[in-house]
């Protein structure tokens, strides 16, 4: 059964420097073990969401509950042990002088004993396939590699929730693939809840569920299939439609009928083959 692990109720937030509300009366639940993508154009409130979920800012109104603990100034340090965050800029979250030092940073902060640290550093780096890079310095690493190290740093603390705050938007296609593949495999191994804040459609397509933000409010919520069926509306919201949806739309415009609105490329090819070509 779906168990709610993060819950937002009536959350509103305003930056002191701005007049408009970055988030207006937002409420939703995030379920244990799911991969949720929060998408929206720049300024839709999605990045603000990330800050609130980690206690880096507090809402003016409403509550955020993480794993049954209400997020307040007193509870942030406990919450931060359960929630790991990977930020957008690969350089500006890399603290250590080398890869292993950086992964150890979070462990040091939490007073983990040294033997345990050594074990966890090695283990997390193996899981992101960066174990050959223990002694490397960050300026010798690519963006994708740095982000994988950041993920390892988060994993070492054994959180139950991991938030990717636009973690792939500064990466090249290869880097993006590396990071998303790493996250996908991690989710398979462990029951990890992944919250992906992004404007990248391919990233969102990998999620179990998508929440579309617009102008500080939750616009829609649903499975990738349901959301991508929104079609033109997505473009108006400043987003894009996945290629396969564009392709199926074009086929329809050319008079072909298709069973579903949202199909992966593979599904689309198969449907064309079975219902159109093999007659």
């Amino acid at each position: 059964m779906k168990k709610s692990i993060v819950s937002l109720k009536g959350v509103s937030f305003q930056y002191d420097t701005q007049e408009r509300y970055a988030l207006k009366n937002v409420s939703f639940d995030i379920y244990e073990g799911e991969w949720l993508a929060i998408v929206g154009h720049n300024g839709s409130g999605k990045s603000t969401m990330a800050k609130l979920l980690n206690g880096l800012q507090f809402p003016q109104e409403g509550d955020i509950t993480i794993d049954h603990v209400v997020l307040t100034e007193e509870t942030i340090w406990d919450v931060r042990r359960k929630v790991g965050m990977v930020f957008q800029n690969p350089d500006n979250q890399f603290v250590g002088t080398t890869v292993q030092d950086d992964v150890a940073f979070g462990l040091e902060n939490n007073g983990v004993p040294r033997e345990e640290m050594v074990h966890r550093v090695e283990d997390s780096l193996k899981r992101v396939k960066m174990d050959q890079f223990l002694y490397q310095e960050p300026h010798h690493l690519s963006g994708g590699q740095k982000q994988r190290v950041a993920i390892a740093g988060v994993l070492a603390l054994r959180p139950s929730i991991i938030i990717l705050d636009e973690a792939t938007s500064m990466l090249d296609p290869r880097g993006r693939e590396e990071v998303l593949e790493t996250v996908r495999l991690l989710k398979q191994e462990k029951s990890l809840t992944v919250i992906s804040i992004t404007h990248d459609l391919d990233e969102a397509a990998k999620a179990d569920r998508i929440i579309v933000m617009n102008q500080g409010e939750v616009f829609r919520e649903g499975s990738p299939e349901e959301i991508f069926a929104m079609d033109e509306q997505l473009i108006q919201l400043g987003l894009d439609i996945p290629f396969s949806v564009k392709m199926s739309k074009a086929f329809r415009q050319n008079g072909m009928t298709l069973s579903k609105h949202y199909l992966t490329e593979e599904e689309l090819v198969t449907e064309l083959w079975t219902s159109h070509f093999s007659k």
């Binding site: 800029n89 500006n92 002088t97 940073f105 462990l107 902060n109 007073g111 550093v121």
Partner: protein
């Protein structure tokens, strides 16, 4: 582009000195700088010389890297030498040419002081050539730890140093990028009148500063998100290990000290 090991001048090699604990190296350098002033005759300087060259030999550092440390100071040394030669008027008069007089003591003092500079530079270079900047930071942090009792921010300083070290290559890469972008907009960094060249620094410095502040902010947020709340309750991943060779080297220096005290005039 800036992958040269110019910062800290650390040259990796497989030597005893390289493998020593940075704490012992720091202590040795510190002590050496103090005891070198005990030397005041030929035999004491020869002893210091032997020690210095012995240590340099043990470090397996190629000579050309040592030269790099001496080059900037050569003029200072020559200047001091000249001062001593012409202004120390003691002992026998060796040479006279008009108002210029060179005395025996002047030559002696000149040579001694130059040698002192020479050995000091070589030994301190030894520290930076055989110890990576992060090791030096670790060593200093551990040595200064007792000062925590008097509220000296040892941990904070060490963290500031290690973060700065980590960002130096990154900032250098960024400087390169900004320079290129501004050159593409018509800025000339290496030609034109002095006044123009000084002004040219502004489109380089301001973006760097702005970006550095942004980095600092984002880094602080990331550190907080990873549970950083100051030095309380932190454990340490990097470990230093004091080995017998460290004790031996310290003892060697102590022996040298004793000899210097006995043999000085």
């Amino acid at each position: 582009m800036m992958e040269k090991m110019i910062f800290g001048r650390y040259v990796p090699a497989d030597s005893t000195i390289h493998k020593m604990d940075p704490r012992s190296k720091l202590l040795i350098i510190f002590l050496f700088v103090c005891i070198i002033f005990f030397a005041n005759n030929w035999i004491t300087y020869v002893l210091i010389g032997f020690y210095t060259f012995y240590m340099l030999g043990m470090s397996k550092i190629p000579v050309r890297f040592l030269y790099g440390g001496l080059k900037p100071v050569i003029w200072l040394v020559l200047f001091t030498l000249v001062l001593q030669l012409f202004f120390t008027k003691q002992g026998d008069l060796l040479f006279k040419w008009g108002p210029l007089e060179i005395y025996e003591e002047g030559v002696r003092q000149g040579i001694f002081i130059s040698l002192r500079f020479f050995f000091l530079i070589l030994m301190t270079s030894l520290l930076t050539l055989t110890t990576s900047p992060i090791e030096i930071t670790d060593g200093m942090e551990t040595l200064l730890n007792p000062l925590k009792k008097v509220r000296f921010p040892v941990h904070e300083m060490a963290l500031m140093m290690s973060i700065s070290l980590r960002f130096i290559p990154t900032l250098m890469q960024e400087t390169d990028k900004i320079m290129k972008a501004q050159i593409a907009r018509g800025v000339e960094f290496d030609s034109g009148p002095i006044k123009e060249r000084v002004k040219a620094v502004i489109p380089l410095l301001i973006p760097l500063f702005v970006s550095a502040f942004k980095r600092a902010e984002e880094l602080a947020i990331a550190m907080e998100a990873r549970g950083y709340r100051g030095g309380e309750g932190r454990t340490k991943y990097r470990q230093l290990s004091w080995r017998p060779v460290d004790t031996l080297q310290i003892l060697l220096l102590v022996v040298l000290t004793v000899l210097l005290i006995i043999l000085r005039s």
